[in-house]
C-alpha cells in the first residue's frame, strides 16, 4: 500500500510505502545488486558495466509513476492522495569499492552533468514540483548497500524544509532587496573563521547556524537557482569543491565519514524563484570519531536542534583535516 496522507497538525504530506519493508537489507555476502551483471555474480540491477554513470528507477520506490489508488478514503481534515512521483537510483561508478571522495574530478563532473540532466528531465514532468538529489552514505544513516550511489526523489510537492527555506529567502528579498544566502555567504567570507575553502567561484563553510557538528554548505558565488544555470566550467569547479569537502571529511577521523548530502535547488513548480540560491548541504551524523548525534525528542519531536560543538571549532578541525589531504585530482 502506498499513498500520501495529510498531517493536519504539521501541514505536510506523509508518504506511506509499505512495499518498502521488503527492500534489500544487507544483501548476501559477496552479492551487490548495483554491481554490473556477470556470469559469476548473476543478474543484478545493471546489465552492463561499460558506463560512466547509470540511473534507474528504484525497485522499492517511496513515490511511483503509476501509484495504486489510496487504500483509505481520507477525510476533510485528513485528505489522502496517490503517492505519484519518481524515485531514481544513481550509480556513481561500476566499481564497488569506490566512494564519492575517491572518484576523480572528471568522474564527479560527469555526475554533476547527469544530475543536471535528471533535474531538467524530471522537473519537466507536470506532476513534479521538486527534484531532490541526495546521497545517504554509511550505515549510521541507514545505508546497507555500499556500492557508491545516490538517489533522486521527484516529489509532487515542495518538501517542508525546502518550503521554509524558500519562504525565508523570499521574505529577505522583499524586505532588503538582496539574496539571503548571498548575504550570509558574504558574512562567512568576511569573518573567515568558519570558512573551509573559497575557490573557483564556490565557497565551502560550516554555517554560523550549523545544526550538525560537521555540517558544511557549498555555495556558488554566482546567484543561480539550479544546476541547469551553471556553465560547464562551473560544473567542473563544483565537482572539484565537492571532492575537496568529501576528502576532508575522510581525513577528519581517518575513516570514510558517513554523511547526508543534499542539493538544494529551486522547485520545478512553474513559479519564479529568482530570490533563491542553489547550494549543497553536507550533514554528517558524527559528533566525534566514535559518537553519533541522534535526532531525539527535541529534534524529532519538537524540531529544535542543539549542536554540541561550536561551528568555529569544527571548521578549524576540518581545515586541519584538509591540510592532510595529499591531492585533489
Amino acid at each position: 500500500m502506498s499513498e500520501m496522507r495529510w498531517h493536519p497538525l504539521l501541514g505536510q504530506w506523509i508518504i506511506t510505502a509499505t512495499h518498502r519493508q521488503r527492500r534489500t537489507y544487507h544483501p548476501p555476502r559477496g552479492y551487490c545488486p548495483f554491481c554490473p551483471s556477470s556470469k559469476a555474480r548473476g543478474f543484478t540491477e545493471v546489465p552492463r558495466g561499460d558506463y560512466d554513470v547509470v540511473v534507474f528507477e528504484n525497485r522499492f520506490p517511496t513515490l511511483q509513476q503509476h501509484p495504486p489508488r489510496p487504500a483509505e478514503p481520507g477525510a476533510a481534515l485528513t485528505p489522502v492522495r496517490p503517492s505519484k512521483g519518481i524515485c531514481e537510483v544513481v550509480l556513481y561508478s561500476p566499481e564497488h569499492r569506490q566512494t564519492f571522495a575517491g572518484l576523480d574530478i572528471a568522474q564527479i563532473y560527469k555526475l554533476v552533468r547527469v544530475w543536471t540532466d535528471r533535474y531538467a528531465a524530471l522537473g519537466a514532468r507536470r506532476f513534479v514540483k521538486y527534484v531532490l538529489i541526495f546521497e545517504n552514505k554509511g550505515a549510521p544513516v541507514g545505508v546497507t548497500l555500499t556500492h557508491p550511489h545516490g538517489q533522486i526523489y521527484a516529489f509532487p510537492f515542495v518538501p517542508p524544509l525546502l518550503m521554509r527555506e524558500l519562504a525565508a529567502s523570499r521574505r529577505h528579498f522583499l524586505q532588503r532587496g538582496s539574496c539571503l544566502l548571498c548575504d550570509l555567504t558574504a558574512r562567512e567570507r568576511r569573518e573567515g573563521e568558519r570558512m573551509l575553502f573559497a575557490q573557483d567561484g564556490f565557497d565551502a563553510f560550516v554555517p554560523f547556524y550549523a545544526r550538525w557538528p560537521y555540517e558544511v554548505h557549498v555555495v556558488p558565488q554566482r546567484h543561480v537557482q539550479d544546476l541547469a544555470q551553471f556553465t560547464d566550467e562551473e560544473r567542473w569547479a563544483l565537482a572539484r569543491m565537492l571532492k575537496r569537502v568529501t576528502q576532508s571529511y575522510d581525513a577528519l577521523f581517518g575513516f570514510s565519514l558517513p554523511y547526508m548530502m543534499l542539493l538544494h535547488q529551486q522547485p520545478t513548480d512553474g513559479r519564479r524563484h529568482g530570490h533563491y540560491h542553489f547550494h549543497v548541504e553536507f550533514l554528517p551524523p558524527n559528533r566525534t570519531a566514535d559518537k553519533l548525534k541522534y535526532l531525539a525528542s527535541s529534534e524529532t519531536g519538537a524540531g529544535s536542534f542543539s549542536n554540541d560543538t561550536l561551528p568555529e571549532q569544527t571548521a578549524a578541525e576540518l581545515r586541519r583535516a584538509a591540510r592532510r589531504v595529499k591531492s585533489d585530482r
Binding site: E45, Y109, K110, V114, D117, W236
Partner: protein
Amino acid sequence: MKKKQIRKPDGRYLIYYTFDPSELAPVEEKWRAEARPHRKHRKAKRGAKGRGR
C-alpha cells in the same frame, strides 16, 4: 554526453550515461586557464625562484 535508455523486464527504465573524453578535455582546459594556481604551487614556485637566487 550520450544517453541510452533501456527497459528492464519489470518495466522500470535504466539509463546508461557515457562521456567521450574529447568533450571533457576542453572544459578542464578552460577551467585550468581561468583558475588561479593552487596556493601550494604558487608557494613552491616562489620557493624555487628563491633558491635560484
